[in-house]
């Protein structure tokens, strides 16, 4: 089977007013890890919950593993593992009781002990859920999704609020699931997560996909390979921006928080020219860095905004 998750022209309007999803189409292949990347309120949760059959779309079609929610809900539920953005599991049940409860809903679940071990929760097996740390709860939430032995894993912001190490642990678990043949759809607003974990991703903004592709491809196409950021003495005004745009190898220019950012293909051509230009203006360079372009740059380039307003 090629495409496991497909949706066409998905729309969702809440209360007849809030257009959360505005014509979104996706096709996700078997064995892929696909990411929905977008800022708060972009419509990621709405989209993923429609795909999960938990929300009725206002318009559009969904097909999962070749079935629709109207016809095969019961079978589909056996094949999907889901972790919602926020679920507070019962605090007075132990970790093992929780996993066994979720396992009991499936016809052929995985052995609860194995899942606990894989999620590194074995030694917390007899601890009440209420006494777990945030990261452990997050892992438990993923464990409840894995215990049904799903073909597809839906994870809504699985790593939000985790420390870097816990995030990496979760990435490893997601990769392991993928290696055993599973397909993953996840949402995130961490660029590095999307870049390192996802085979393909869609950048969502205001309920629409504004770019789609592999992380490398997106950066290549839209970010420019490198970013040169600098500041000069004296105010860099509009006319100055024109000067920077004219430098060799520059694809686009923007200012960001007092810095000028140049997206460039070949920094070794651009930087000497930049230094010359600064000299000619009798200004001084206050700051200069170069770095690899990231998905953040792609997002800023497409929308003029940052993905996460700090």
């Amino acid at each position: 089977m090629g495409t496991v998750i497909q949706c066409r022209d998905l729309r969702k309007t809440y209360d007849g007013r809030v257009e959360a999803v505005r014509g979104l189409s996706l096709a996700i292949e078997t064995g892929e890890c696909f990411g929905l990347l977008g800022p708060n309120g972009a419509g990621k949760t709405t989209t993923i919950e429609i795909l999960e059959g938990l929300l009725e779309p206002t318009g559009g079609q969904v097909s999962i593993l070749g079935h629709t929610w109207q016809e095969n809900a019961r079978e589909l539920r056996e094949w999907l593992g889901i972790s919602l953005q926020e679920t507070r599991l019962s605090e007075k049940l132990t970790v093992r009781e929780t996993i066994e409860l979720f396992a009991s809903f499936y016809r052929e679940p995985r052995c609860s002990g194995d899942v606990l071990e894989q999620m590194q929760l074995s030694e917390k097996g007899d601890t009440w859920v209420g006494k777990l740390s945030g990261g452990q709860r997050q892992r438990l939430a993923v464990a409840t999704a894995l215990v049904g032995n799903p073909k597809i894993l839906f994870l809504d912001e699985p790593t939000t609020g985790l420390d870097p190490q816990s995030r990496r642990q979760l990435w490893d678990i997601i990769r392991a699931f993928q290696q055993s043949g599973g397909t993953v759809l996840l949402t995130t607003h961490y660029m590095d997560e999307a870049e390192r974990l996802c085979d393909r991703l869609a950048i969502v903004d205001y309920g629409k996909i504004i770019a789609e592709g592999t992380p490398a491809d997106l950066i290549e196409r839209l970010g420019g390979h490198h970013v040169v950021e600098f500041a000069v003495s004296g105010n860099s005004n509009g006319t100055a921006l024109e000067v920077w745009r004219g430098l060799p190898g520059v694809e686009s220019v923007r200012t960001d928080d007092g810095l000028v950012c140049l997206h460039v293909h070949e920094p070794h051509l651009t930087i000497p020219a930049l230094l010359d230009a600064v000299d000619k203006q009798h200004e001084q360079l206050l700051h200069l860095t170069t770095r690899q372009a990231s998905l953040e740059d792609v997002f800023v380039r497409l929308t003029g905004r940052h993905l996460r307003e700090e």
Partner: protein
Amino acid sequence: MAVSEQPVHPAEVRKPDTPAPRNGRWSGYTHLLMARMKELQREPEVIFWVFVFPLLLALGLGIAFRNKPADVTSIVIVAGPGAEDALAMIRRSPQKDSIHADVLDQAKALQGFRLGKYDLAVEPDGRGGFRYHYDPSRQESVLSRAEVDDALQIAAGRKDPLPTSGVSSSEPGSRYIDFLIPGLLGMNIMNAAMWGIGFALVEMRQRKLLKRFVATPMRRSDFLLALTSSRLVLMLTEVGLLLGFGALIFQMRILGSLVSILLLGAVGAISFGGLGLLTASRAQKIESASGLINVVMMPMWVFSGVFFSYERFPALLQPFIKALPLTALNDALRATILQGASLGSQAGRLLILVLWGGISFLLALRLFRWT
């Protein structure tokens, strides 16, 4: 934690799985029921509200309203000329054992009467006669006046043309505590079902746990069934406790069969469960749910004869009161427990309960939101 500090390599993460257990039809239901029971058991408040609180209430009310020995009435005589005579006359009357009299100055005497400490105040008029201060709206006061008047008249030499005598009755079965315990039982069945099902559901909805559950192949009917069963188990325990308590502490006599009583309790619990489900079908926040639950229960606390008989309300209200599910449950419980009525004779009341439960349940099915 030593374990989590080692990086996990994908290759070693997934060891060959232990052969998977295959789940049968009822595995979801049994696990849900077990989980619910464990949660309840680990919640100290539940133990208190479900088990201890009703017993305390029964104990407190049972003691406060216990029948006073031989119906003694407390009266006060206003000090002054003639007061000592009045006291002496009461002391030599045939009613001397059932009248307790104090002598106080006027202000104190009337205040004690107003506060309900005394049922009657007797004020000598100084010319050999007496004036009674009584409160016609208080039954005890009216009775006290008749009793004291008889005592004084007889002591003063009145001869009754007919010899009469009275036998006092405080048999188990007709005392306040006997009235109270079935009422408390009914009220608790209602409270437990409304909170234990209605409130619990809204709380789970607010926590997005309901949504998480319906994202699995869990049967929704199993979930509701498990929630109801857990309440039934609690109900059985509670009925046993409260009746045992009444029998032990207050020598309450239980005339009906235990099976009938438990069946009644179960019908009541399921009926109120349906009402709880309906109350909880939409609310997203526990605050709004609590308000709603209280609004639904309030009229029944007042009208359904938990603490006092609803016969006291105007006749106009009676049909409305009798149609309330708690009235039906309380009446049926009283008839069964106190008079040994059979379940068959309670068919009408059972029908009221079934209708309330059934209609609420059907409405709830259409309105209920899992997300």
